[in-house]
């Protein structure tokens, strides 16, 4: 099936489910929003970069939370619901179905980031200035795509397990910390560096900060260097995910565990 049609259908289906059940707002929007609120209160009056770190961190947490939700909990939901077999019986590849879901959920994360930005400006009177808005939004959008690619990579494992939801919860915080979305990864122990640098969003967040802050010198690769590395890593994620999904789809047909929950 044409991939774009599958991705679009899956994106729309996810949106319809989201709108049909507003309780999804609690873990995916309200929680990161509250975390950011706490950070803003803590650093209120300090000025400098803290407010922007908090706003960006909250937005990224929301986006990752939503992406992970799409790839993990939604597969669990399909398994419970008996629809995992039904969608696998169609000619559309499961990977593109999950890609559409991930994109919708990452988009919801953007709205979360926007809400946090508005709260920071209007409720806390933060002075948030973005050095180059065009580069900022380009990096922001690219990071969103990279998060979706990372979610896609993990989702192949989620198809195999009946505990995808639990696995999802376990993967939430390592990415928050590892990508440095709330604070610079330079603050982390040195042995975590390889993990952090292998994550596409780490470079995306760095690019966002290059675009937003004056005199920022994060990973020393510069804005375009960050973006290039992130795109390369994300393409690798998708390539590995495509391969893994072929293996996984064959495996579930062999092991007959799709209908089990």
């Amino acid at each position: 099936m044409p991939r774009l049609r599958t991705i679009t259908a899956s994106f729309r289906n996810q949106a319809l489910h989201f709108l049909a059940d507003p309780q999804w707002l609690i873990p995916n929007v309200i929680l990161p929003f509250m975390i950011t609120l706490v950070v803003l209160i803590l650093f209120e009056g300090q000025g400098g970069n803290f407010a922007l770190y908090a706003v960006l961190g909250g937005g990224m947490m929301g986006m990752w939370g939503n992406t992970l939700y799409a790839s993990g909990w939604s597969i669990q939901f399909d398994r419970w619901n008996g629809t995992l077999e039904e969608v696998l019986a169609t000619p559309s590849r499961l990977i593109w179905i999950i890609a559409g879901r991930s994109m919708w959920n990452a988009l919801i994360g953007i709205l979360n980031g926007l809400a946090i930005l508005l709260i920071a400006i209007f409720a806390f009177g933060m002075d948030i200035t973005i050095r180059d808005p065009a580069l900022f939004f380009l990096a922001f959008f690219a990071t969103l795509m990279s998060l979706s690619a990372l979610g896609l990579l993990f989702s192949s494992a989620f198809v195999l397990t009946r505990q995808a939801g639990v696995l999802t919860n376990g993967l939430e915080y390592p990415i928050y910390v590892g990508t440095g979305c709330m604070f610079p990864i330079a603050l982390l122990p040195f042995w975590t560096a390889p993990l952090s640098l292998s994550l596409g969003p780490t470079w995306g967040i760095d690019a966002i900060r290059y675009a937003a802050l004056d005199d920022y010198a994060g990973l020393q690769t510069g804005y375009w260097g960050d973006l290039l590395i992130m795109v390369a890593i994300s393409i690798a994620y998708v390539a590995i995910a495509v391969y893994l999904f072929i293996v996984v789809e064959k495996r579930v047909r062999k092991d007959a565990n799709l209908g089990r929950y």
Binding site: P91, S92, R253, K254
Partner: protein, 333 residues
């Protein structure tokens, strides 16, 4: 060889050869105990294009496993399946485009969205042309009697309505071959009759169908041929008339009563001249159907065996498809 294959796929929509499916499970953490269960044990059959083929069998006989293998959801352990000339194991995507699947029961639908949204989603996943999509969805909703509730959420549907939506979903890609696993389960008598009419119409329109059912009258009414499956094997394959013909030298003694114990049923089964006994409850009465070779000869010994029970009626009846089925799966056929 090539010419032979082509001819074969032109005549047959489904060809199953020596199909085996073994489920492997393990128990324990450190000392894992591995267990193998043979769900399908070397079955072979072919379904002609435009035929309505039924699979009958008790729970756990291997019907659903066979359907899942034919619809690409499971890989066979050995053997082969060809759908419209395509190898199911090697070309699953090509097969999926041309088949429809109706799995019965409460699951398999998105409850939080409407019937129309469910059908639209699956139409997109099947790649139904955009120019035809809405018309086809409206036609299907009309056909299954859900047009007036098409924009209600599925979670507000009755079980019968969900089953009808399953039927519509299985037809959304206008498949050439349709697999239906217990398509009328959960439907009220009127809805079940409508579903059967729809199935007949689909076959009249040229579709090939394979269905499983527990309802004998349904199989008798609908199917051109029936495979009776038991313990993973096909124990009989014939037309409904042919299957009933297996019982031509048999009679049925039907006994209605109360207080008939398992012990007495076992004793009846052990009597010489009795082939098999089925016991059901109907309107609070127990109903025994006792298959015997000679009813006039066996009537007295049977009545004698049940002398301590409250028997309210005894009749001699002609065998039905259900009797043939029971003999095949419970008797010593």
């Amino acid at each position: 060889m090539m010419a032979g294959n082509r001819m074969s796929s032109e005549e047959f929509a489904i060809e199953v050869k020596d199909l085996v499916r073994i489920y492997k499970t393990s128990q324990g953490v450190f000392r894992k105990k591995k267990k193998e269960t043979v769900a399908v044990d070397g079955i072979s059959f072919s379904v002609r294009r435009g035929e309505l083929f039924g699979m009958l069998g008790p729970n756990g006989a291997g019907k659903t496993t066979t359907i899942k293998m034919m619809t690409t959801l499971l890989l066979p352990t050995s053997g082969s399946i060809s759908i419209l000339g395509l190898d199911v194991a090697a070309r699953p995507t090509d097969v999926r485009k041309r088949i429809g699947l109706v799995l019965g029961g409460e699951k398999g639908l998105y409850y939080r969205i409407t019937a129309r949204q469910n059908l639209r989603y699956f139409a997109d996943l099947y790649g139904v042309p955009m120019s035809e999509r809405e018309k086809r969805i409206n036609d299907l909703l009309d056909r299954v009697g859900l047009k007036d509730r098409a924009d209600d959420k599925v979670e507000d549907y009755s079980r019968g309505m969900k089953q009808r939506l399953h039927l519509a979903k299985g037809l959304v890609n206008d498949p050439e071959v349709v697999f239906m696993d217990e398509p009328t389960i959960g439907l009220d008598p009127q809805a079940a009759r409508d579903a059967r009419s729809m199935i007949k119409q689909l076959v009249a329109d040229g579709k090939t169908m394979l269905l499983t059912t527990h309802y004998m009258y349904e199989a008798d009414e609908l199917c051109n041929r029936i495979a009776v499956v038991n313990k993973g094997k096909i124990v009989a394959l014939d037309t409904p008339r042919g299957l009933k013909g297996l019982m031509q030298d048999m009679n049925i003694i039907e006994v209605e009563g109360f207080g008939i114990t398992d012990h007495e049923i076992a004793a009846l089964r052990g009597m010489e001249g009795v082939r098999t006994v089925s016991a059901t409850i109907s309107e609070s009465k127990q109903v025994l159907r006792i298959q015997v070779v000679d009813a006039s000869e066996m009537l007295t010994p049977v009545t004698q065996q049940l002398r301590d029970c409250r028997v309210i009626g005894t009749r001699i009846k002609e065998p039905t498809l259900e009797d043939a089925y029971l003999w095949l799966v419970e008797g010593d056929a």
